[in-house]
Amino acid sequence: MKWLDKYKVIHPKLEKETDYPHWAISLTSTLLNRTGTWRIFRPLYQDQIPPCNNECPTNEKIQGYCDLVKQAKFAEAYKLILEDNPFPAITGRVCYHPCENSCNRKDYDDAIAIHCVERFIGDWGLKNVALAKPKVKNKKTVAIVGSGPAGMAAAYYLGLEGYQVTIFEKQTKLGGMLRYGIPAYRLPKAVLDTELKKLIKLGMKSKTKCAVGKDITIDYLRKNYDYVIICHGAHKNRPLGVPNDKAKGVISGLEFLSQINSGKKPKIGKKVAVIGGGNTAIDAARSCLRLGLKPMILYRRTRLEMPAVPDEVDACEAEGIRIEFLVAPVKVLATKKGKVTGIELMRMKLGKPDASGRRRPVPVARSNFKIKLNAIITAIGEQVDLSILTPDIQKTEWGVKVDRLGKTNITNVYAIGDCVTGPKTVVEALGAGKRTAFQIIGATEKIISKTDKPVKFTDLNLDYFEHQDKTKIPEISVAARKKNFKEVHTGYNKEMVLKESERCFSCGVCNKCDNCFVLCPDLSVIKDNGEYEFDYDYCKGCGVCAHECPRNAITMIEESKVEEQ
C-alpha cells in the first residue's frame, strides 16, 4: 500500500496487513523515528587509565587481570600480566606495589591486595601454562650485562621475538639482586629458578662467572653483538663514613645478604646493629633473626621517613626486632685489633625537609651514647660501579646517562635498571627492561607513558560498591620464622583470590557490569557478543549511562565536538 511505503513494516506478524486499518491499529514500529537527532551530548565508551595501571612501573594491566581473575579466567589473566611482566611469581612476592598505594579503594575501605592476586596468578601460571617459545626467528644478537630483573625482562621480550640473547653474569647463578639481594623468606630460590626457565625456553645463552669490565670488555661486546644492554645494577657498598667503619665485624648489608643467599652462613657476632632504614636494612635484620642472631635497627629519622615498605617494617617489628629511631652513628667502637665492640651514636631530631622532601635529621647536641655490639651491618645505600663502562659512554652523577627508553649516547648501546637510576625497585628494573626490548624490537606503540589524569576516587559512582574488607594475607606464625628462611607469606588460595579480585572497582575500564545497558531508557545500548555499543540513531543523550557507570568508563561529549574526537 502506498500510504505505508514510507514506514518500514517490521511486525512480522503484520506483514500481510496491507489495507488501511479500520481504526488506529499500528502496523509498524518506532524504529522509523530516529530520536538520535534530539541529542546534544553523546555518550562515548572511553576507557580511562586506572590509577594502579598508571602507577605500575612496568605498566601491568592490573585492572584487566583483576577482572579476569574475578571470572576465574586464570590463564587469560596470566597471559595478560606476561604482556608487561614476565615474572609475576617474583613480583607478586617482592614488588613493593605502588599500585596498591594508588588504589582508589583505599579511600573507600582498603586497597586491593594486588600483589597477592598477582602472586596467585604467577604461581598458577608456572604450574599450568606452557612456557613460551620464540614467535619468530631473528638473527640479531644482543648482549646483556647483568642478569638481574632488568636484564631478565629485556631478555624475555627480545627472546620472544627470536633475538639471539646472551647474558653475562659475574656471579655463579642468574638472578642478580633477586637471587643475591632478596632473602629466601621473601622469594624462595625455587620460584626464581622456575621463572628463569622461561628464558632458557626462549633460547637465551648465559655466561656466568664472567665479570664484564674484568673478564670481558664492553668494547668487545659492542663489536660482537648488534645490541648491548648494560644492567649490572648498583652493588657498590657505601661506607658509613665514621671512624672505624672498616673494622672487623662491619659488613655491608648486600654482602651479608649475598652470603646467605649463596648458601653460606656469615660469621658474625650475635648482637648485631643494622644501620639504615631501607629495604636492605629490613632484609638484613630479619635475616639475622633467622640465623639465630639478635638484631636491632638504627635509623636516623622516624618511621614516617623510612624508605622501607611499611608492610616490611611491620613484619620486622612483629618478629620482635627493635628499631631505634632518630640515632646516627658517630663512631664504630672496636678493639685495638680492629674488632667491633659497639657503636657510639648520637640522638637526632627532625629539621626542615631536604631535597627528597623528607625532614632532614639534625643532631641533638650532647646526646652521644654507646651500645655494645658484636657486629654492624651497613645498609645506607648502594652505588653504581661505573668503572666497567668505556669512557665514551656518557654518565650522570650516579649512573649511566640514558634517554627515557634506555638509549645511551652510543648507538645500539642501552643501559637500564639500577645502573642508571641508582638503587630502585625490582619492578622499575623490569619495566625498564621491557621498554628497552620494545624499543629494540620496534614495538614502540607498546611503550606507555604515565598519564596525569588517572581515574580519581571522586570520579567513581560508589552506589554500586559494597564495603568489603581486604582478604587477610595468610602468613606463617612469628614463632615458625625463627632460625629458618621459610617463606613468610603463604599466598592466597583460589577462594581468596576470587574474593579479593571481586573488590576491584575496575576504575575507568568497562568490565561489562551492564549498568548502561540495563538503565538506558531509550534502548540505545546494544549488546553484541558481550560488547557494548551506543545506537546513535536513537540515543537521546540523557547521560544516565555515564552517570551510572560505576567506573567512569563513559564520557559525555558535546555533539558539536564529536569531529574533534
Partner: protein
C-alpha cells in the same frame, strides 16, 4: 555487582519519551519481567505519546489505548475476553500515570481491586500531570512546584498515599518499586505475574523535565528517594503482610534528595524540616506495620 536481567527486549527504540524518562525505563524493565505473553492497557498518560503515533508502536506486545479514567476496567475487559476465549496464560497489565491512578482513574481501579480482577495495575508515578505540561496531581508532594502550584503557592497538601489505599483493598499483592533497584522491580513483576487477582505496583518513575532536574540524575534521584525514605520500597500481601524490601543503609536527610530538583528550589529550611519530620513519621509507621506482620 552484575545484574541478572535478561537481555531480550520487548520494546523498540525510537519511542518519544523525553531524555532520561523514568516511565520509559520502567516499561522496558517491566516487560522484561513479564515476557511477551502480555497485553498492556494504556490510559491517557505520557505513555500515550511515548508509544509513538499511529501507525507506529514501540512495544513488541499488543497495547490497548484507552480513556484516561479507564485503565483498570479496560484491563479487566481484556482479561475477561481472553478468558472467554480460553487464553488464560496472557498477563494483562494496566499502565497508568499518577493522575490516571490517584485522581481520575481511582474509581475504576478501586472497582477492579474490590472485584479482585486478575490484572496487574502499574502506577508509574512522576508526581504530576507531566504529559499535559506539569500540573499538580494528588501525587504531587507537598511543597513542590508545578505549573498549577507556582512557587508563590506551592502545593500545600501532602501526597495521597495510593499504596496504602490499595493495601486497604486487601488485594493479594501491592508493592512499590523504583528504577535504581531494577532487580527488585523485575522480581516484583514476576511475583505479581504468578499471583491471581489484582496486583498493584507503584513504580516511582522520575520525570527530569517536570522536576527541573538534569536527565542524567534520573537513576540517582530514585536511589536518593529510597535512601532518604521519601519513597520506601516495600510490599504487602493480602493487605496484611508487610515486607520492607530495601532497607536504606544510611539515613539520608531529605535535603539530599530535594536539593537536586528545581521543583523544590524555593523551599525554606523550615519547609525542609517539616518534610523531614513527616518522612520520619511515615517511616516509623511503615516499620511498625512491617514489624507486626
Amino acid at each position: 555487582m552484575r545484574w541478572t536481567i535478561k537481555e531480550k527486549e520487548l520494546m523498540y527504540p525510537g519511542h518519544v519519551a523525553c531524555p532520561g524518562c523514568g516511565g520509559a525505563l520502567a516499561m522496558r524493565l517491566a516487560l522484561k519481567a513479564l515476557g511477551e505473553k502480555t497485553i498492556v492497557v494504556l490510559p491517557a498518560c505520557c505513555w500515550t505519546i511515548i508509544d509513538g503515533p499511529f501507525p507506529m508502536h514501540s512495544l513488541h506486545v499488543p497495547v490497548l489505548h484507552t480513556a484516561f479514567e479507564t485503565a483498570a476496567i479496560a484491563a479487566t475487559g481484556v482479561k475477561a475476553g481472553l478468558d472467554v476465549r480460553g487464553k488464560k496464560d496472557i498477563t494483562v497489565m494496566a499502565w497508568a500515570g499518577d493522575g490516571g491512578t490517584l485522581d481520575i482513574g481511582i474509581q475504576a481501579l478501586s472497582g477492579a481491586a474490590e472485584r479482585n480482577d486478575d490484572i496487574i495495575y502499574t502506577c508509574y508515578d512522576n508526581e504530576a500531570y507531566m504529559n499535559t505540561g506539569i500540573q499538580r496531581s494528588s501525587a504531587t508532594p507537598k511543597g513542590a512546584w508545578t505549573t498549577t502550584t507556582p512557587q508563590q503557592t506551592p502545593k500545600l497538601e501532602p501526597k495521597k498515599n495510593i499504596t496504602e489505599i490499595m493495601i486497604a483493598h486487601r488485594i493479594p499483592y501491592v508493592a512499590t518499586a523504583t528504577l535504581a533497584y531494577p532487580e527488585d522491580l523485575i522480581n516484583k513483576y514476576k511475583k505479581a505475574q504468578s499471583i491471581k487477582g489484582t496486583k498493584f505496583l507503584h513504580v516511582y518513575a522520575p520525570c527530569p523535565t517536570g522536576w527541573k532536574m538534569a536527565p542524567d540524575l534520573m537513576i540517582k534521584i530514585c536511589r536518593l528517594a529510597v535512601e532518604s525514605n521519601i519513597f520506601p520500597i516495600y510490599e504487602c500481601e493480602n493487605g496484611i503482610n508487610y515486607t520492607v524490601n530495601i532497607q536504606p543503609q544510611k539515613k539520608l536527610p531529605v535535603f539530599e534528595y530535594l536539593k537536586l530538583q528545581g521543583r523544590f528550589s524555593h523551599l525554606t529550611q523550615k519547609d525542609i524540616d517539616e518534610i523531614q519530620k513527616s518522612v520520619d513519621f511515615e517511616r516509623q509507621l511503615l516499620l511498625k506495620r512491617a514489624a507486626k506482620s
